[in-house]
Amino acid sequence: MISPFNIYMIGVGGQGIGLLSETLLRAADYAGYEVIGVDTHGLAQRGGTVSSHLRLGKEAKSPLIKPGNADLVIALERYEAHRALIEYSKIGSILVYYDAVWQPLNVRLQKDKLLKEESLVRIAMLKKVSLKKVYVEDLSDSRMQNVAILSFLNRNQIIEKITQNDYLKAMYDILPEHIVEKNIKLFESTL
């Protein structure tokens, strides 16, 4: 695998991106990678764009990934997938996105157009990005979308060396007791 391997995660404040980034960080650590990462906080947590950077490999010094330099983008929402695809995806990289739609202000105010999936496909082709959509009907809590994504990453071995056991250990490290079971169940299901 390329080293450092740059994973850029993006979503909307409230989607629980912290769970995703912390699980991946710990899973990668369990898999033996040297890791450095950072979550963006601040004002953005009130419904704005939130992102997390995670870099695997001892060559990674700064926790921040350069725009256009992500080997893997994980997006929790369609408009954010579009943003990261344009700004962060490296040519020839992978983008995994959960197809939730939380329209930004100007779309709701009808000042900007709706974003269709075709736009993602078109830009992905231009950048030779392999686009992978995840979606689960009827999740009891939208924050479980993070676990659906983790499950997808695991089943398709999107990140080399990280095993199912690494993901599980990471989830047990960070999930509060009362929600562990149902999240693990979702993680282990084939969706």
């Binding site: 409230g14 450095i36 990462g37 906080h41 009130r46 926790p63 256009g68 930004p104 709706l114």
Partner: protein
């Protein structure tokens, strides 16, 4: 779930993945810190989260959120001159609030030691500016330690404490947003924490502690002598070092910028040498002279202002060193965080012949992503307030914002809050706007935590000087923006239950007669109350209150109770779009046929939107199961 309190407090060798804000708490425990104070502000509030995990394990470790940064600094100062090692932490602009007391610290013998932890915010990720607080160090004769990442933070913070204690002087420990929040695996040392005997050691003769008129001069002299001594120490500190790549080109840098430089040089054949400064003030003059002389070309790479550039060019001039020294070359070099891409473009611009250029990335021009500004949460009481207040105001009236979640009222469609300076400024600014202004009414906004922080003097001034604007206090019962910390009206402090100081009582105590108090969900009552208050010929107050709904939702989920089901839009909807274009709850979305739909991931079923629909098309559903 892993118990981080064990990791943080274990006195054995161990290791864990932690963010900088947690690592610093472990370092505090090892260094023997006794008293820590703060006022919440990004990027530092997680330091308090980590403290809350361990504070009960130690009998000699005290923390409080003080009422503002100035008071927090004073509490930490008091503890230090009483013999306890103390720390105060706050965000970048918090130092402006603290400054009046802060600038005095170096004049005084801090017998217990005191470290001021600054969370600077290059890039203005969550602040109203990106001020470079290194200038304060020079202004107030204090040294600065500045790590690049959590791994360096850990030993460096312990050293900062040790030096502060040894020299009885204040020391600044400067962090920035992406060092506070960076996460990596840290190996912790074995240590022994010796319980501090609780004996008050304050003695006036340890001072003097009264700087007044000519007594200031010996105190200032001593402060300057300590700073000179510190500069000598800095010459040999392990935190200032050279990365030798055997080049005639040399970079001088520090903090997160250093990591950006390392990232850039990773793929470069010609690597300049790097002088990495961990003590960023006062500078090690001999070390710098030697470094300058050894190189033909020097680039000073520093985030924000040309602080080091000015100092280093002075050193070069005084020592007759003729090396070419480049610093800031254009205005943009002073703006924003020195992230890897920014540093790459600056270095390519500085020495274009030295480096291979990475292929330029051009696809971004094809399409612009749609911006997503921060929003008030679904059910937020401020939304109902702004929706109502907008209807009470005339088009030409002036509204003054303040700091808090409610600052977001400036966004469309509310556009309320048209000027902003700082925490608690709104009543001073509103008073100024109302002078020689008979035609346009002025309203000011203020949050409840900010009321206690710095809001009260502006209110007293309005009463005292007969100003006639209307203050609207947006009371949500918490310090929401920074993570729901308690404040003086909540009945709790960080450690205990405490007596409430209700803000209405404070206002009444000031003699304010015109006070109206309305729950913001009662939108038509609020419209009337604001209209009535603004019609009065005196200073008037409207307390527009509703509990923070984000806090409420979290508490319901934690208690595994049921939230109301999301609202539904019935066939009565005839696309007037008030819910979208005027109330603008993010739960309301629109499809390609212009039909409004409810994003059920977002809607909390509060129903505050129902009264905005002219067609009565929004309906609540019965309480359903909550599966969390």
């Amino acid at each position: 779930m892993k118990d981080l309190s064990v990791v943080l407090s274990s006195d054995k060798i161990n290791s864990e993945i932690l963010m900088g804000n947690y690592v610093i708490v472990r370092a505090m425990l090892e260094a023997g810190v006794n008293v820590v104070t703060s006022y919440p502000g990004s990027p530092t509030p997680e330091i308090a989260d980590a403290i809350s995990l361990v504070k009960d394990k130690y009998d000699d470790f005290y923390f409080e959120f003080s009422v503002n940064e100035k008071v927090a600094t004073e509490v930490a100062f008091g503890a230090s001159v009483n013999g306890y090692l103390s720390c105060v932490f706050f965000k970048s602009v918090g130092l402006n609030v603290a400054a009046d007391s802060f600038v005095q610290l170096s004049l005084l013998e801090l017998i217990g030691g005191m470290v001021i932890i600054l969370g600077d915010d290059p890039g203005a990720n969550s602040s109203q500016n990106e001020q470079d607080n290194r200038h304060y160090a020079r202004l107030s004769y204090m040294p600065i330690f500045e790590p690049s990442n959590p791994a360096e933070l850990y030993p460096m913070f312990k050293e900062a404490c040790r030096k502060s204690q040894e020299m009885k002087m204040p020391v600044i420990f400067r962090l920035s947003t992406h060092i506070c929040h960076a996460k990596q695996r840290i190996s912790f040392d074995k240590y022994t924490r010796i319980l501090k005997d609780k004996v008050s050691k304050f003695r006036p003769e340890n001072g003097p502690y009264i700087p007044i008129t000519s007594s200031v001069f010996p105190m200032k002299r001593k402060a300057l002598q300590k700073l000179s001594q510190f500069a000598l120490y800095s010459e040999n500190s392990r935190f200032n070092y050279v990365v030798d790549n055997n080049s005639e080109y040399g970079i001088i840098t520090s903090g997160l910028t250093y990591l950006s430089v390392e990232d850039f040089l990773h793929n470069q054949k010609n690597k300049p040498d790097i002088l990495k400064l961990g003590i960023t003030y006062p500078l090690p003059e001999q070390m710098i002279c030697k470094y300058l002389k050894k190189h033909k070309f020097i680039k000073i790479l520093e985030e924000l202002d040309d602080f080091h550039e000015q100092l280093i060019k002075t050193i070069a001039f005084n020592n007759k060193i003729s090396t070419t020294i480049l610093g800031k070359q254009e205005i943009e070099d002073r703006i924003g965080e020195y992230s890897p891409d920014k540093v790459e473009s600056i270095l390519l611009n500085t020495w274009p012949d030295l480096f291979n250029c990475s292929p330029k990335y051009s696809i971004e021009k094809i399409e612009n992503p749609i911006p997503r500004p921060a929003q008030l949460c679904p059910g937020c009481g401020h939304r109902s307030a702004f929706y109502a207040i907008k209807q009470a105001l005339q088009k030409d009236d002036i509204s003054v914002a303040d700091i808090g979640c409610h600052t977001l009222g400036f966004l469309p469609p509310y556009n309320l809050g048209q000027a902003l300076l700082s925490m608690g400024h709104s009543n001073g600014t509103a008073a100024g706007l109302s002078i020689f202004n008979d035609k346009r009414k002025v309203v000011s906004f203020l949050g409840d935590s900010t009321f206690y922080h710095a809001g009260i003097p502006g209110i007293i001034n309005a009463v005292y000087n007969n100003h006639k604007h209307t203050l609207i206090i947006l009371e949500n019962g918490t310090t929401a923006m920074t993570g729901h910390q308690e404040h003086p009206a909540t009945g709790k402090n960080f450690n205990n239950d405490t007596q409430k100081i209700p803000l209405r009582n404070v206002l009444e105590g000031l003699g304010i007669k015109s006070i109206r108090e309305i729950d913001t969900y009662a939108q038509s009552k609020l419209i009337q109350a604001v209209k009535d208050a603004m019609a009065e010929d005196n200073f008037s107050v409207v307390i527009a209150k509703h509990p923070c709904m984000l806090k409420f939702v979290r508490s319901v989920r934690r208690a595994k109770k049921a939230l109301p089901k999301p609202v539904v839009i019935t066939a009565k909807c005839n696309k007037k779009y008030k819910c979208i274009s005027e109330f603008a709850c993010p739960s309301y979305q629109i499809d390609e046929n212009g039909q409004v739909w409810v994003q059920t991931d977002l809607c909390i079923g509060d129903g505050s939107c129902k009264q905005t629909c002219p067609s009565d098309a929004i309906e609540s559903q019965k309480i359903g199961d909550n599966n969390d």
